[in-house]
């Protein structure tokens, strides 16, 4: 049932949830993203790989409208990120869950409060009780129901990253982007976090992960987008076990 559902979600008939059309971002003479064109469909799970400075973070920031492209178009769930005025950026951000390498949890809040805070500031109509219930559900989904009242410093790196993932998905955004989410984790914990993100994509969210962890990328056998010097040099479909261009070059 779940795989049939996932298959339907990845059907090419569905319009792209994220679409980049010749997206370019320059910083002076440096081209961080060079004419990148790609599309991610609803429920798709993809890795973004490449050497340091290849433009992975730039691409994620373009999608999340933290920066604007110098040229080209970026569409996220029907919203033109490339042309979105500042006052409407929040509208786009509510459709994108973000996970960082350094978790970015608020140290003075407990796990459930961290999740509830994100939910309530993005959805003002949510009451305290509802926010707590939904946050507990999200923590349960990432396997941390028993740590709801723990402060970040009382949690391991893997657990903190799970809280960050719960925070990113609590408002059920259609897109989840993660920038090196396993960068601070050991291989076993990293694998668990990746499986968790994969599970989230099965429930319909599009997941795009920038990572250096090629071992996990190989094991997961999902779509791999390879960036080198800001250019998308390879788009390897899911299920293929081809060489990773930049790693083998």
């Amino acid at each position: 049932m779940a795989s049939a559902r996932a298959g339907a979600l990845r059907s090419p008939a569905l319009p792209a949830l994220v679409e980049l059309i010749g997206a370019t971002r320059r910083y002076g003479d440096v081209v961080a993203a060079d004419e990148v064109s790609l599309a991610l469909r609803p429920g798709e799970f993809a890795f973004l790989v490449g050497p340091s400075g290849a433009g992975k973070t730039t691409l994620l920031r373009l999608i999340n409208r933290e920066i604007r492209p110098t040229s080209g178009e970026i569409w996220v769930d029907g919203l033109p990120a490339h042309a979105l005025p500042d006052r409407r950026v929040a509208e786009l951000r509510r459709r994108v869950g973000v996970v960082f390498q350094d978790y970015k949890l608020l140290p003075r809040l407990t796990a459930v409060e961290n999740v509830a805070f994100a939910l309530q500031v993005s959805e003002l109509g949510v009451s305290d009780d509802e926010a707590r219930d939904r946050s507990l559900d999200a923590l349960e989904a990432v396997g941390l129901a028993d740590k709801a009242d723990a402060f970040p410093h009382q949690l391991s790196g893997g657990q903190q990253q799970r809280v960050a993932i719960a925070r990113a998905v609590v408002s059920q955004p259609p897109l989840l982007i993660a920038d090196e989410p396993t960068g601070n984790l050991d291989l076993e914990t990293a694998w668990q976090v990746m499986k968790l993100l994969e599970q989230i994509s099965r429930y319909g969210a599009t997941v795009l992960i920038a990572t250096h962890n090629l071992e996990i990328v190989r094991r997961m056998q999902r779509r791999v987008l390879t960036l080198v010097s800001g250019r998308l040099v390879r788009d390897q479909p899911a299920g293929r076990t081809g060489r990773l261009a930049w790693a083998s070059s």
Partner: protein
């Protein structure tokens, strides 16, 4: 067409009472909590703004009193006495009076006889001795004119001086320097007072903007998360603006109270002396000034925090 299992991103149902409750909580209660928590770092801003507002209050009230005094001086400067020769004939005086009455710049013409002039002089310090020493009445009869404007005094005085009924030695009370001196003093006070207030305002806004900047930096991670999860801009920026407004309002309230107390004590200590020292400054005027200071503090604090928020949270 394929089966769409996932609907488009749902439009959030607005639950306005809850939105209002949460909005109030984040904007005002959150700002209040943070303001109290950061009171130590806000103290320089609070102190400088209070000082500015107290000084503004004192300078403003002093300027008001000075303006009232100057207005009174100006009004008396618009009174012109035309001194008559002791041997002036009644016909010549009547002709002069008629000409003056016909002048558009003259509001009224009165007459003071030599006897009345002596009587008035006796009530002024020093003048009775002068009158006794002279043996005869040295004070001339006069036509007393009230003019529309102090600016007309010179022309009317010149016209009156040409009359044969007018005393050739001291034809009128007109002193061209008086009005000019009043205007000069007023202009200097206005310029200096204005410059001082602008300077103090600049300092207060800069210090407050800096304290708001410090508050933003202290909560940078919280702000970043709010921005990334899609909190509306007003919600990210609002609490900082409210904090600035709060700083300004508290400074304004303290300064307003100080102004009220200082001038209140002055008025209570000696109403008659005070009227001469600061004419027009009543309890009502002082209360109004305190209110203006309170509002001024609120506005200054808000402007300072808006500047800071605009600079520090410009990126989305």
């Amino acid at each position: 067409m394929g089966v769409v299992l996932r609907a488009p991103f749902p439009r959030r149902r607005r639950r306005w009472p809850q939105v209002a409750r949460n909005g109030f909580r984040y904007l005002f209660l959150g700002a209040w909590r943070n303001w109290l928590r950061n009171l130590t770092s806000t103290m320089p801003a609070l102190a400088s703004m209070t000082l500015l507002l107290v000084l503004s209050g004192l300078v403003g009230m002093a300027a008001f009193a000075l303006e009232r005094a100057a207005a009174s001086q100006t009004a008396s400067a618009a009174v012109l006495h035309v001194y008559l020769r002791d041997d002036a004939t009644p016909q010549a005086v009547a002709a002069l009076k008629a000409r003056l009455k016909a002048n558009r710049d003259v509001v009224s013409v009165g007459y003071t006889s030599k006897a009345q002039a002596l009587k008035q002089a006796e009530s002024r310090p020093g003048l009775p001795q002068l009158a006794n020493a002279a043996g005869t009445n040295p004070f001339p009869a006069s036509l007393d004119l009230r003019l529309r404007s102090v600016a007309d005094v010179g022309a009317v005085a010149a016209m009156a001086a040409r009359s044969p009924a007018t005393d050739p030695l001291t034809p009128t009370s007109y002193n061209p320097g008086t009005y000019r001196r009043i205007q000069t003093v007023m202009s200097v006070v206005e310029v200096l007072g204005g410059a001082f207030l602008v300077l103090m305002g600049f300092v207060a806004v800069a210090v407050t903007a800096n304290s708001i900047r410090a508050a933003i930096l202290a909560r940078q991670s919280e702000v970043r998360i709010m921005q990334l999860v899609g909190a509306p801009r007003w919600m990210v920026r609002g609490p900082f603006v409210v904090e600035g407004a709060l700083t300004g309002a508290v400074a304004g309230a303290v300064a307003g109270l100080v102004t009220l107390v200082v001038w209140g004590i002055g008025i209570a200590a000696g109403a008659s002396a005070f009227v001469r020292f600061a004419p027009g400054v009543t309890v009502g005027v002082t209360a109004l000034a305190a209110l203006v200071i309170l509002v001024g503090g609120f506005v200054l604090g808000t402007v300072a925090s808006l500047i800071s928020v605009h600079r520090e949270l410009e990126t989305t």
